[in-house]
């Protein structure tokens, strides 16, 4: 009965979304306020209905109700109950329900938030959000219903995909999916404002930016968690392989990164209106491209676990929304003309512009590299693989240029920077960059690209730290202790310094990527129990392997005693599991992580005598990549935290204007 209730809630939610689309657009067109309000209220009920369906599916998992097809396909009796959460989105239908649920909640919150400040835009934005939601609900109801029953109930289920049985899977897929679908919110606000002829009037910018920041943060965390999962579970010692699914998450992130910066110029200067509209359209299109690739797109991927045959439906919807957005863009083009131009080519605005171009260039190069194999196969009947060397070679220099702009851009003033100003501002960061280059060369770093990359990171970091230092010093001269002065400086200018904290997190990420990409060491060792081997400063002894049997798998766990430079570090236990039901092996690396480097062991198949090939890596600085996540979240929270408005100068204006007209 509970499952059936959830099943019924889905078509009702679809009808509510359909009503909300029609009511929003017809209501605003015919100027029927009751219909507009009614459509909005209908939208508010969708999360309730989808929560009922979600609870029903969860109940089916918990009670091992294998009469439900999705439960039978994605769980079994041996699955630990904790993995019910993972099993929920382990397949196509469940992940679609998750997407719809998250989107419905975000939509309800967003509409509630924007209604007061954008009364004319809201019906259009709500109608667009409802349209995206109706698409997901339509697919769920007609093609991929997770609560569909089987004609015959099996005694046990097929079990969860073994690659998903990992702690990282509790967070990464839902965060990644939430990030992709959340782009629909700033997109709907922007497009709604455009259709309502408010796109060029900047009233939507504050709320659009806030939602874009939220979406960007979720996308960033999704990417980081995905990289961490790949690093710890896939057992290849890396975290980023330019896999199509990874690329599909990176592309919208790049577009959204450009957008959250570029929108600041519109807020401040009333410029880049067309750019910003293009960026958010590109961001949403790329987010849909991500869902298309993840859901049975034509490009093969190692981990599109929610793959299905309905990818082309997502492609069609992407084409539809892109075409509709571009028509609206051309239709309202006259309202997007900026009243001002660049005052100078050396200013913060021009840095933002250059940054936009670079972000889009990286995004489109990544897109081209991702879909090129499909074109190649269709046109020449030749299967081509575009791998990491292509992306590293083409995107690497552009990403480096972006890091330079990240360091230099915030140091430039708005409107105009003179030559003396630029020299003054960049003197110390450039000196720091040169100093770091010298230090890393003296430490033995010889690869020019690595030296350049670390030097560029130093320039960006020095710019931020120097400004903090000057601000803190100025305050502390007035009698505040250094920690208090620093804290108050940050709190007094939260958006600015929150942005700087985010930039520092990105620099930590970049340093980790440079260290591990250029200076990682990898070797394979064939070892029998009792053998000893060494790599770099590490020596390790293979003590033996033990097997543990489970109903759905067996696990072979190796035991290593590890030392570094004659100092005993402890025991490490990598393991390899084999799942009978899926006929698939899954390895878990043993990783000892420090800020200096990671020592990483992963086993291959064990022979009856206990021997095996072990792949061992020493990956420098990877720790900094994972540490950057919390720093990034902290920066975003600081930037978005509400700040007391001290002197409402602007608030006097309407009163003054009213008085003037009276």
């Amino acid at each position: 009965m509970i499952v059936d209730t959830g099943y019924v809630a889905l078509p009702i939610a679809l009808l509510a979304a359909g009503y909300s689309i029609a009511g929003s657009f017809i209501g605003i067109r015919l100027r029927l306020p009751e219909l507009v309000a009614s459509a909005r209220y209908a939208l508010y009920t969708i999360p309730i209905l989808l929560l009922v369906s979600t609870a029903s599916l969860t109940y089916a998992f918990v009670t091992a109700d294998f009469s439900v097809r999705y439960v039978a396909e994605n769980s079994n009796l041996a699955m630990p109950k904790a993995y019910t959460w993972v099993a929920f989105y382990a397949g196509n239908a469940g992940s679609l329900l998750w997407l719809a649920l998250v989107l419905s909640i975000l939509t309800a919150v967003a509409v509630k938030m924007i209604r007061g400040r954008l009364p004319y835009t809201t019906p259009y934005a709500a109608g667009i959000m409802a349209m995206v939601l109706a698409f997901f609900l339509g697919v769920i109801v007609f093609l991929a219903n997770p609560l569909e029953r089987l004609p015959v109930t099996p005694a046990d289920g097929q079990g969860i995909n073994p690659l998903l049985v990992h702690f990282g899977m509790f967070i990464h897929p839902p965060v990644q999916m939430t990030g992709l679908v959340s782009v629909a919110i700033p997109f709907s606000i922007a497009l709604g404002a455009l259709v309502a002829r408010s796109g060029g009037r900047d009233a939507w910018v504050d709320l659009g930016r806030t939602w874009a920041m939220i979406s960007w943060t979720i996308l960033t965390l999704g990417l980081m968690l995905g990289s961490w999962w790949a690093y710890t579970i896939l057992g290849w010692g890396g975290y980023w392989a330019w896999d199509p699914v990874e690329n599909s998450a990176l592309m919208p992130w790049l577009a959204m990164t450009a957008f959250v910066h570029s929108i600041m110029v519109q807020k401040r200067r009333g410029m880049f209106r067309m750019w910003n509209m293009v960026l958010i359209i590109v961001g949403f299109t790329m987010a849909q491209m991500g869902m298309f690739i993840n859901r049975g797109g034509p490009v093969p991927s190692v981990h599109s676990f929610a793959q299905s045959t309905m990818g082309w439906l997502f492609l069609f919807f992407m084409a539809f929304t892109l075409a509709a957005s571009l028509i609206a863009f051309v239709w309202r083009l006259d309202s997007l003309k900026s009243s001002r131009g660049l005052d100078s080519m050396v200013s913060r605005e021009s840095a933002f512009l250059a940054q936009n171009v670079l972000f889009l260039a990286v995004a489109f190069i990544t897109l081209w590299g991702t879909i090129y194999p499909v074109f190649s196969e269709a046109a020449q009947d030749v299967t081509v693989t575009v791998g990491a060397p292509f992306f590293n070679r083409v995107n690497g220099p552009l990403l480096l240029a972006l890091v330079v702009l990240m360091g230099v851009g915030p140091l430039l003033p708005w409107r105009r920077a003179t030559a003396s100003n630029v020299v003054t501002m960049l003197r110390l960061p450039l000196a720091a960059g040169a100093g770091i280059a010298l230090v890393v060369v003296l430490l033995g770093v010889r690869q020019p690209v690595a030296v350049l990359a670390l030097s560029v990171c130093a320039v960006a970091a020095a710019g931020i730290l120097h400004e903090w230092y000057r601000g803190t010093r100025t305050r502390s001269r007035r009698g505040e202790s250094v920690p208090v002065a620093f804290g108050r400086l940050l709190m007094a200018n939260r958006p600015r310094y929150g942005g700087y904290v985010v930039h520092l997190a990105i620099l930590m990420l970049a340093v980790g990527a440079v260290g591990s990409s250029f200076y990682g060491v990898q070797r394979d060792f064939v070892m029998r129990p009792g053998d000893e081997a060494a790599i770099d400063d590490y020596s390790f002894r293979y003590m033996g392997v033990s097997r543990e049997e489970f109903s759905d798998r067996f696990e072979d766990t190796a035991r290593f005693e590890v030392s570094k430079s004659d100092s005993y570090l402890g025991v490490m236990r990598p393991f390899r599991a084999f799942y009978h039901t899926h006929q698939i092996a899954a390895t878990r690396a043993a990783i000892r992580s420090t800020p200096i480097e990671d020592f990483y062991i992963v086993p291959s198949e064990f022979q009856p005598d206990g021997s095996a090939v072990f792949r061992v890596y020493v990956n420098p600085l990877v720790w900094w990549m994972w540490a950057s996540g919390p720093v990034l979240v902290l920066g975003v929270l600081l930037a978005l935290s509400p700040q007391r408005q001290p002197a409402p100068v602007a608030a006097r204006l309407p009163r003054a204007a009213q008085a003037a007209r009276a």
Binding site: A37, T122, P495, V649
Partner: protein, 125 residues
């Protein structure tokens, strides 16, 4: 039991949809265009004040040399003056608003070099 659940589920959106028609008072919901001319002037005013705050902030931090600071300040003050002219304010009202800008700038300076007041969110972007 299932029928009852279905009825309840159907009633949720039905009541929500009917509410504005039967009991609501949406009045002008969604029908008022937000960007009126006075709103546009308000936004231009806020942008000019935010620019002044930011210029003051950069100067207080030592990021802007005196000549650049004065040039930027003049630019933003001109924009603020143009907005006031468009509003056709009385002399006294103009003076009040200019005094408010000066007070705001003073608060930004205090926020950076120490003091109780904090500059607003716009100043920092």
């Amino acid at each position: 039991m299932l029928i009852l659940a279905v009825i309840v589920l159907t009633l949720i959106p039905t009541i929500a949809i009917l509410y504005p028609f039967l009991w609501g008072n949406p009045s002008e919901e969604g029908l008022v265009d937000e960007p009126s001319p006075s709103e546009e002037l308000r936004r231009r005013w806020e942008a000019a004040v935010a620019g002044l705050r930011n210029t003051e902030l950069e100067h207080a931090l030592g990021n802007l040399p005196q000549a650049d600071y004065e040039w930027l300040r003049d630019e933003y003050m001109t924009e603020a003056a143009l907005v006031m002219k468009a509003l056709e304010l009385e002399q006294q009202q103009e003076e009040e608003m200019l005094a408010a800008i000066e007070a705001e700038i003073g608060r930004v300076r205090e926020g950076i070099i120490g003091g109780a007041q904090e500059p607003s969110a716009d100043a920092a972007q």
